[in-house]
Symmetry: C2
Subunit: 399 residues, 2 copies
């Protein structure tokens, strides 16, 4: 019995501009998706549970489309269309799009990494990361899935003190296929951040497959408050609105995109310079303010995001920026080193229950694993509440 | 007995960027400074009253430095240094800088436009425009002063239905000298807006005296909510902070200034196109949002300004933008045509007593004059409260 974990991600700089070829910087956020692998009560049954979203699915292993798999265990860059189609057929009765996608990714990886003769297992997902809030939850899930199944299949040996670079390549590669099951055509940025943690520079290529992702060698973890406004947003609508603005007012929007590109470039240089965490923190806060203002100019902020920003500013907590598509969704506040839990609670109280707040870290570690002690009871899984509970489960190894 | 009035001004687009040669657009705001000219109780005494700021000053006309004036009644582009010096000496005992400046401007214009043999008068200033809030109150005062003294001296005949272009030239020219007494080296933008109303394009020249001011032929009055955050700001500090940011991050700040320049240029084109008030309103609101975001990027907003913006946005009242130097001071909300008094009151209530709100107009009329009826009692002046009271004093003629 073991558990794996993978962090979420936020866009630090460059959202929206990334659509027009400007690079973006994404970083991990230390809220994790956890996947427990425990014995199933029925040895022929595999079970996928995700209590946070009410998902419970069971399959008899003997009824899975094993015959569609031609190259089990071999990592490709794209989905095998035959397996993909067989799973589409199998999962046609699962009408909830979230359950369907989560099951599809799970079974695709299971069929490739496990065998018909494997033992029965329960795969229980728990999450301290909000799901569907633009924080890369599907990638964290896919990374957790890949890591769990790779360990189960023996492709990743029990790591002693850390995961190897080869382990990481495997996890990232298979999680990309999981993401492909869920999203069709993922950028790959979310799963690499969920795998490696830290931060990456991403540049969307003009042609399919020509995108570039460059992970940073080091990124010191920085104090972060993540606020989920819980205002539903339509990413595609927001992207299209910025496109309309750009075509109507190109002479205004182009210099704004140039300014965003310069913000990203400045941040990129700072991160590569290996300056101190204090210096980096101060500069990243200033750049967050600039980037946020530019996003306001593009019309993608929202009163709920401005409220977070205004109250955090009044409480002198740090610099707040919308992250991702905007129009609701999440805000990140890069705190200056000395923000106490007391001030976090003041922010939480001032914002009220409409908002979910998380005191967390930017640029923390990536995928992790821990063996569960023999005394661990599966009933305990549903009782775990916050990051500390998960942390105390065993001796974790991380990338 | 008569009364003159002059409006305040706001910067619509281009503040801060104007320092770096980007043009700015300023527009009148229909909150006015009023100057009453009524008989003095002592025929040898002139009296300057400004109850809003506690100013009461009296001079015997015979004690004024008439001999320093060499070209009475002749309009120059600069202050006469001899008169300026004589007044400095006369006013040396007036230590309050506001009283000193207001008295200096008044006496400079009085010495040039009136004569030793004029009758005694009281000049009573009242204001519905906040004083010292970046709304051009000193220029409104200077314009009121110039108009009042020009009328008193007979250089402006009793206007029948409107003020002539020649009247306007005189008022603007003399008010610039009043502004020069107060500010030393004024740009001339505030007094031209207070004189003409409407809106103007202003471009600061590299060399002294090379600035350009182009009034727009027409600017339809638009609904505006003006909010004074009453947060004190230091214009010079904010201007210097933007300068520091520009020298540290030129590759980011220059495209931001380019974007502001494009906003101003777009607004300029729209105003000149004589499009409908509805179209103009909609476009100016969009440009206000863009310009505000760019000012946030430059770091000159303030939580109090963001609060106004956020609540006005939630109440769907219109687009809010900081105006002027930022860091506190005033915000303008360009309302869409249909905002009711009810929604204005909701905004007022939500913001609370910390803020002063004015339901007013952008781009309204300029300098105005009205003869007071013979039944008017000077005691009434201090009882006038809001714009309506002043409006009902007589038959106003405006530019």
């Amino acid at each position: 019995m073991f558990v794996v974990s993978a962090p979420g991600k936020v866009i630090l700089y460059g959202e929206h501009a990334v659509v027009y070829g400007v690079p973006a910087i994404a970083a991990s956020v230390s809220l994790h998706m956890y996947m427990f692998v425990v014995d199933s009560s029925d040895p022929d049954v595999i079970e996928l549970d995700f209590p946070e979203v009410g998902l419970v699915r069971k399959w008899r292993r003997s009824e899975l489309p094993w015959s569609s798999v031609s190259e089990a265990g071999k990592l490709h860059q794209k989905l095998d269309p035959e397996v993909h189609l067989a799973l589409k057929t199998l999962l046609a009765p699962v009408t909830d799009p979230f359950e369907n996608a989560a099951s599809h990714a799970f079974l695709y990886l299971y069929l490739h990494l496990c065998s018909e003769s494997s033992a029965g297992q329960r795969f229980v997902t728990r999450s301290t990361l909000p799901v569907g809030a633009g924080l890369g939850s599907s990638a964290s899930y896919s990374v957790g899935l890949a890591a769990a199944l790779l360990k189960l299949s023996g492709k990743i040996q029990d790591p002693s003190t850390s995961l190897s670079a080869e382990n990481l390549e495997l996890i990232n590669g298979w999680s990309f296929l999981g993401e492909s099951c869920i999203h069709g055509n993922p950028s790959g940025i979310d799963n690499i951040v969920a795998t490696r943690g830290g931060a990456v520079l991403y540049e969307r290529g003009a042609a399919h497959g020509s995108s570039k992702i460059e992970p940073y060698d080091s990124f010191p973890p920085l104090g972060l408050i993540l606020t989920n406004t819980k205002v539903p947003r339509q990413t595609s609508q927001l992207v299209s609105d910025v496109g309309t603005l750009k075509s109507q007012l190109p002479e205004i929007v182009e210099p704004i995109l140039n300014a965003i590109a310069a913000v990203v470039s400045r941040a990129d240089g700072l991160i590569r310079s290996n300056c101190s965490a204090e210096e980096l923190n101060e500069s990243l806060r200033e750049l967050a303010q600039i980037n946020h203002g530019l996003l306001v100019s593009l019309g993608v902020s929202h009163p709920s995001l401005e409220r977070v920003r205004q109250i955090a500013h009044e409480l002198e907590i740090g610099q707040t920026k919308l992250t991702g598509a905007g129009g609701g969704g999440c805000a990140i506040t890069i705190v200056d080193g000395e923000v106490s839990g007391k001030r976090f609670n003041m922010l939480k109280m001032a914002l009220g229950d409409e908002f979910d707040l998380f005191e967390t870290e930017l640029g923390g570690r990536g995928v992790g694993m821990a063996n569960l002690s023999s005394s661990f009871e599966t009933d305990q899984i549903s009782q775990l509440k916050d990051a500390r509970d998960f942390h105390e489960l065993g001796n974790w190894v991380y990338w």
